[in-house]
Symmetry: C2
Subunit: 427 residues, 2 copies
C-alpha cells in the first residue's frame, strides 16, 4: 500500500471514508478491552500457584540461620532470600536489602529519605531551592509520578536503542549540582524494550556529577524477563562497573519478583554499595522492625535457587511471547509502508512503544477508548504527562487473552490510520 | 520483711552481703535469657499455623468483589480485609486503608508525609522552624525513635492509670501551634498496660489545638489483646467520639495483626476520617500500586470474621496469662513491703511497667545483663532514651518459656534489691 503522505487528497479522503465506516462497526461492538498497564495475565499468575503450597502448617518456618520467620526481626532480609535475589540481580548478598512487596515503594522511600535526611551526610533535598532529575524519555509514568510528587524538576533526556543520550547526561550532571538523580530502566526499558549498551553502562559508571549526592536510580524491573531463551539481551552489571570505575556509591539498583510470581505479593530488593546500605539502614530501622520474612521464605522454597527462577521465567515467556509477536505482526501488516507510525520489537519486558505522526497520539488513544479499548494515556511516558510531539503510545500486550488482544490491536491499527489520515488531510 | 528505708545501716549491709553472694551464683550460671521486647513466644506463633493452610494451589484467590488478589491493584485493601479490620478496630470499612506488614511503617510514613507535604493543605513540617510532639511517658521507644529521626522535639507528658495528663495536653496544644501530634497507646498501654478512661478519650476528642494540622497518633496496638476473657478494658472509640465532638479529622488510628498472627507477616491498617483518607491516598498512589492482597485474603480466610479472631485471641491469652501472673506474683513475693519498687498489673497488652527507686533503673538493667538476662534498656520508655528519674523499667514476659522467665524474674528481683540496697547505703 502507498504511504499516506504520497496519497492525493482524493485518495486520502476515500481512505478515510472507508476507515470511518469500519470504526463505526467497532463502536457498535461495545468492547471493553484493556491494554493499558503492564499486568501479567491469568495464565502467568497460574504458573506461580505452586508457591501457595510450599508453606503449610507442617512446614518448619525457620530459615537457614535458625531465625523463626514467623516472629519479629531481621531488618534486611533472611539470608536465603538475599542469596536468591542476589543471584537474580547479579549482586553479592551482602549488598542487598530485601524489602516488602513493591520496588516502587522502595524507590519512593529512597527519594523521600533523600528529601528529609539527605544522602550520606549531604543536605536534605527539601532544604535546597531546586532539585532536578533526568528522565530518559519515553519512560515509566510511575517513576515520573514520584519525582513530580516531591516537586523535583524533571528534565527529559532522549532515548535511543543504546540507552539515554549519554552526551547530554554527562554534560548536564557535570554542570548542575541541582541534578540529583536519573531514572533508568536499563534492560527491556519501559516502554521501548531497549537494553542499554555496554558503552552506555560504562559511561553511567564513569559519570562525574557535580552533586556528590547524585544517584542513578537503576530500576532493573525486567532483568530476567526475556521473551526468547536463545536471544537475550545482556546488561553490564552496574554495581560492579561503578566499583571498577572508582564510583562505588553512585547507584541504587532496584528489582522485585512482581512480574515473576504475583504482583503485589512478591518481594522487592535494593542492591547498592556498603556505604549506601549503612546510610539506608540508619533510616530503615526507624521505619520498620522488618519485612515479611514468611513471604521471603515462600519465594525461596518455591524457586529453590536461581535456576528454578530461570526455568520459571521460560514459562512466562511461552505465554506472553505469542502476544508480542501477534501485535508486532498486526502492526507490520496493518501499518507497514504507510509512513504513519513506528514501533519497537523488544526481546523482553512488558511493552511495545509506538510512535505516531506528530500530534496524533492523544487522538488515537481517545478514539480507541471511545470504542472500548483502554490504552495507557498518551503523554504518560513523558514527565508531567506532556509528550511535546504528542506521538508516543505505550502498548501493553500481556494482560488480555489472545482473542481480545487481536481485536484491540485491530482497532488500534484502525485508529492510527484514521487519525493519521485526518491529520494529513487537515495539514 | 522490713522496708529497706527503715533498716539500719548494719541491717542493710547484712542484707546487701547476702544479695551479693546470691548474685555471684547467677553469674556462675552463664544465663542467656531475653525479656527485652514484646515478642510472642513460639506457642503463640503455633496457634496461627493454620493460616498457612487456608490458601493453596487449589484455592480461588479472587476476593469478594471478583478482584484477582494475585495481580496488581486495589490501593486501599480488599473489601473483606477492610471488613475484618474494621470490626477489629470498631470502625466502618470505608474509613480504613489496609497496608502492608507493619503499623509502625504506616506511622513512620504518616510522619514522613507530613514532613514533606503537610497535612490537608497545611505547610509541610520540614518548612517549619520547629515541630513538636507530645509523648506520654513512659511510652513506646519506637514511637519516640520516629519523631527523633525527623528532628521533632518531644515533650514528655506524665501518664496516670487514666491516661496522659489531659490538663497538660489541653493547655500545651492550645498554646503552641508547633505541637503537631501526640503519640498514644490508648489501650493496655506500652509499657504500663493502662487503658485511657472514658473521660480521657472524651477530652482527646474535644481538644482545641492551635495547630490545624495537629493529629492524635492513636496506636491501638493492643485493642483486642486481653489477658482475661471476663475482665477486659473497654475503650471509647475515638473516631466516633471525635466526629460527635465536631473534630472528625483530628485522629489517625493504627492497628495491625502483628501480635494476632505472625509479627512481620501480618496486615496493618489505618482508620481515619474520609478527609484524611483522601489526603493520604493522594500520596499513597505515588508510593505503591497496592499492598499484599494475597496476605489480606489469607488472614480473612483464616479468621473468617471478628468472632474467629476473638476466639483466636483467647488462645493467646491462655498462653501468656500465666506468664504475667507468675511475674506479678514473684514481684509481689520478692519485693512487696520493701519500698524499693512499684509495678503495674495490666489486664492486657504485652508489658509490665516497673518503677525502681530514683537513679536505680540503669544499674538494675545493667546488673541483670551482666548475669545474662537482657531487659529493655533503662530509659527506652522516655524520649531520647532519657528517663529523668532513671527509674522506669519495661518488663516483657511473653517471649521466654515459663522456666526461663522464672529464672529471669528471680534474677531481676535480686538485682532490684541489690541495687536499691547499695543506693540506700550510699545515700
Amino acid at each position: 500500500m502507498k504511504a499516506y503522505s504520497e496519497m492525493s487528497k482524493e485518495e486520502l479522503k476515500a481512505e478515510l471514508d472507508g476507515l470511518e465506516k469500519e470504526y463505526e462497526k467497532y463502536l457498535a461492538m461495545n468492547l471493553h478491552l484493556d491494554m493499558s498497564r503492564g499486568k501479567p495475565c491469568k495464565e502467568q499468575l497460574d504458573i506461580s500457584m505452586g508457591m501457595m503450597d510450599v508453606l503449610n502448617s507442617k512446614v518448619d518456618l525457620r530459615c537457614e540461620d535458625g531465625t523463626d520467620c514467623r516472629n519479629y526481626g531481621c531488618l534486611d532480609g533472611i539470608p536465603e532470600a538475599k542469596q536468591l535475589m542476589g543471584d537474580m540481580m547479579e549482586n553479592h548478598p551482602d549488598n542487598i536489602i530485601i524489602y516488602g512487596n513493591s520496588s516502587l515503594n522502595v524507590m519512593y522511600d529512597t527519594v523521600a529519605r533523600a528529601m528529609t535526611h539527605g544522602i550520606m551526610g549531604n543536605t536534605p533535598w527539601c532544604r535546597l531551592d531546586k532539585v532536578k532529575f533526568l528522565c530518559p524519555v519515553p519512560g515509566y509514568d510511575r517513576h515520573f509520578a514520584i519525582t513530580e510528587y516531591f516537586g523535583i524538576e524533571m528534565i527529559p533526556v532522549p532515548m535511543s536503542p543504546e540507552g539515554p543520550d549519554m552526551d547530554m547526561v554527562e554534560k548536564l550532571v557535570a554542570e548542575d549540582d541541582a541534578i540529583k538523580g536519573i531514572w533508568c530502566v536499563p534492560k527491556y526499558s519501559n516502554p521501548q524494550g531497549y537494553s542499554y549498551s555496554d558503552a552506555t553502562v560504562r559511561r553511567f559508571a564513569r559519570l562525574k556529577p557535580k552533586a556528590t549526592d547524585f544517584r542513578i536510580f537503576w530500576d532493573n524491573a525486567y532483568g530476567i524477563h526475556h521473551l526468547y531463551d536463545d536471544d537475550q539481551d545482556y546488561l553490564v552489571e552496574i554495581l560492579a562497573e561503578c566499583k571498577r570505575a572508582g564510583n562505588p556509591d553512585i547507584v541504587y539498583k532496584f528489582a522485585s519478583t512482581s512480574k515473576i510470581t504475583f504482583p503485589g505479593s512478591g518481594i522487592a530488593a535494593l542492591a547498592t554499595s556498603l556505604n549506601n546500605l549503612e546510610d539506608i539502614k540508619k533510616q530503615l530501622k526507624n521505619q520498620t522492625i522488618g519485612h515479611d520474612k514468611v513471604n521471603q521464605l515462600r519465594h525461596v522454597r518455591f524457586f529453590k535457587d536461581i535456576h528454578g527462577m530461570t526455568e520459571h521465567m521460560k514459562k512466562h515467556a511461552d505465554i506472553i511471547r505469542p502476544k508480542f509477536e501477534m501485535v508486532e505482526q498486526m502492526l507490520e501488516e496493518g501499518l507497514s509502508g504507510l509512513g504513519i507510525g513506528e514501533w519497537t520489537k523488544p526481546k523482553g519486558g512488558y511493552f511495545i512503544s509506538f510512535d505516531s505522526l506528530e500530534g496524533c497520539a492523544k487522538e488515537i488513544v481517545g478514539k480507541a477508548k471511545k470504542a472500548g479499548v483502554v490504552m495507557t494515556g498518551a503523554g504518560a511516558t513523558w514527565p508531567y504527562g506532556k509528550d511535546p510531539k504528542d506521538s508516543n503510545i505505550r502498548i501493553a500486550p500481556t494482560l488480555p487473552p489472545v482473542n481480545e488482544l487481536k481485536t484491540a490491536t485491530e482497532l488500534f491499527v484502525l485508529c492510527v490510520k484514521l487519525v493519521s489520515a485526518q491529520k494529513l488531510l487537515e495539514g
